[in-house]
Subunit: 294 residues, 2 copies
C-alpha cells in the first residue's frame, strides 16, 4: 500500500507538470481568464481520471508519457464540469476540495467563461495525443466528445437536475450515474489504452472495468455525503439531502448501498482478469478507492 | 444580387439540413437538453460563418459537401457563445434574433448546459471532416480549438466584460474585436479552405480576407446598435451604450466609424485578388455584408 501511495504521488506529480505545460500561464493576457482556469485545476483534486488513463496505458504495455495528453484532457473535462456544476444557477456550491469555488473568487460571468475555456482546451490537448496504428486523432476526439456530450456527462447532469425532489427508481439512478460519472472514468481508461495501441479485446476489458468502477465510486460518494463531515469531504456535506437529490442511500438505505458498492467492485476486478499481471496497478487502485472510509 | 440571394438561400438550406443531421433529435433522452440545444441553432441565424466556410471551400476548388462538417462546427461554436453571452450573469439579454433567449425558455441552468453541449458537439462534428493530403483531423481540431480558446473567442469576451465602463483606446478595441469576432470568421474561411486542400498561400489570402472582413463586420454591428431599432435588429438595440461598452462609434464617432468600415472592406477585397475569379462569391458576400443599412 505504501508502494501504491508512492506510485499515486508520482503519477500526480507527472500530471500536474503536464497540466502546467498544457495550460496558458497566468500572465498570458487576458490574465483574468487564465487565473480563473488555473484555480480549479490546481486546487488539490485527486487526479483520479488522469491516473486511470496513465495506468491503463501501462496495463496495455504502453508508455505513460504518451498518455499524458489524454490524461490532461479528461482532467480538464472533469474540472470544467465541476466549475459549471458549482454555479449559483446550478448546485450553488461555495466550497470544493476545501477551497472557494471559481465563481466565489472570480464572479459568475468569469466562472462560466473559465469552464468554457477548460472544455475548449481539453479538445486542443486531446488532439496532441500521438496517433497509433489502430487509433487516429479522430478516434481520440470522438471518444472524448461522446463521453462528454448531451447524452453522457451533460445528459447525466440534466437528469440529475430533473430528478431533484422526485422519487426515482433504482434503474433511473443507475442511468444518471452511468452518464454523469462512469462514462468519463471509462473513457479515461479507454483513452489510455488507445494511446498504447490496445487491441479491441483489451479495450473491452478496460470498458467493463470502468463501468463497474465508476458506479461503485458514485455509490461510495453518495454514502460519504451522508456519513461524513464537510471538513473531511472538502465540500459541503449533506448537500444531496438538502436538495432532495436521489442517491443510493436514499433509495436502498445505507447498509444495502455498502453491499452494492462491494458487489460492483468485485465485478470491476473480475473485468480486469483478461489483462493479466500488467493490470496489478489498476487492481490496487480499485481497492484503494473502495477502501475509503464509507 | 438576386443571384447572390438565391445562392445564400441555397447555402442556408444545405447548412440547416446538415445541422439537422448532426444534432441529436429533440426526442433523444434527456429531451430537455436536446430541445434547449436546438432552440438557438434553429432560431433564424444568418449562418454567416458556415456560409463563409462553404464558399471558401468552393473558392479553393473544393466541394462544399466536404466542408459541411466544419461549417456546422463553426456555427455551433458561434451559437454556444451567444447562449452563454446572453445569460443573466453575462450580458443578460432576453431577446436574440427576435426570439426569447435560451435561458428565458429553459432556465439558466439548462442554458449553461446547452451551451456546454453545443461546444462539445462542435468538436464531435469537426472530427468528421474528411482528411486531405495537406490537412489532418489534428489540424482541423487545433484550428477550431485555438480560435475558440481563452486567448481568442473567450479572451475577447473577457476583455469586453473588463472594458465595460472604461475608456478604451482604439488599439484595445481592435484587439477585442479581432479576438471576439474576426478570429472565428477567419477560421470559418480557413477550415473551408483546408477541407479543399488549399495551398498555404491560398490559406493566407483567406486569412487576410477574414481578418479585415471580421473587423468591418464588427464596426458595422456597433454602428447598427446605435442607429437601428430593436425590432429591426432582432436584439435589444442601444445595449452597448447602456452597459457603457466601448464601441467604434463611441470612440471614433459615427462618421469616422463608417469610413473605417469602408476602409476595412477595401482591404478585405484586396486580400482576395490572389484567389482570382473563383473568389467571386466571397467578393459578393463581402459587399452584401457591407451594404447593410448602416
Amino acid at each position: 500500500m505504501s508502494d501504491l501511495k508512492a506510485y499515486l504521488r508520482e503519477q500526480q506529480r507527472m500530471i500536474a507538470a503536464a497540466l502546467q505545460r498544457f495550460l496558458p500561464r497566468s500572465s498570458v493576457r487576458p490574465s483574468t481568464i487564465h487565473r480563473a482556469m488555473r484555480h480549479p485545476v490546481f486546487a488539490g483534486g485527486k487526479r483520479l481520471r488522469p491516473i486511470l488513463c496513465l495506468t491503463a496505458a501501462e496495463a496495455c504495455g504502453g508508455d505513460s508519457e504518451h498518455a499524458l495528453a489524454p490524461a490532461c484532457a479528461v482532467e480538464l473535462i472533469h474540472t470544467y464540469s465541476l466549475v459549471h456544476d458549482d454555479l449559483p444557477c446550478m448546485d450553488d456550491d461555495n466550497l470544493r476540495r476545501g477551497k472557494p469555488t471559481t465563481h466565489v473568487l472570480f464572479g459568475e460571468n468569469v466562472a462560466v467563461l473559465a469552464g468554457d475555456a477548460l472544455l475548449t482546451e481539453a479538445f486542443a490537448i486531446i488532439a496532441q495525443t500521438p496517433e497509433r496504428k489502430r487509433y487516429r486523432t479522430r478516434d481520440y476526439v470522438t471518444e472524448l466528445a461522446s463521453t462528454s456530450d448531451s447524452r453522457r456527462l451533460i445528459g447525466g447532469q440534466i437528469m440529475d437536475l430533473e430528478g431533484e425532489g422526485k422519487a426515482l427508481t433504482r434503474a433511473q439512478l443507475v442511468r444518471i450515474h452511468e452518464a454523469k460519472t462512469a462514462a468519463l472514468l471509462t473513457s479515461s481508461l479507454r483513452l489510455g489504452g488507445m494511446s498504447a495501441n490496445a487491441s479491441a479485446s483489451r479495450l473491452q476489458s478496460l470498458t467493463d472495468f470502468g463501468k463497474s468502477l465508476g458506479l461503485a465510486f458514485q455509490v461510495i460518494d453518495d454514502i460519504l455525503d451522508v456519513t461524513q463531515s464537510t471538513e473531511k469531504l472538502g465540500k459541503t456535506a449533506g448537500k444531496d439531502a438538502t436538495v432532495e437529490k436521489a442517491t443510493y442511500p436514499a433509495i436502498l438505505g445505507l447498509e444495502k448501498s455498502r453491499q452494492e458498492a462491494q458487489r460492483l467492485t468485485r465485478k470491476a476486478l473480475t473485468a480486469l482478469h483478461p489483462l493479466g499481471r500488467r493490470a496489478a496497478r489498476l487492481h490496487q487502485i480499485a481497492h484503494y478507492l473502495l477502501d475509503r472510509d464509507y
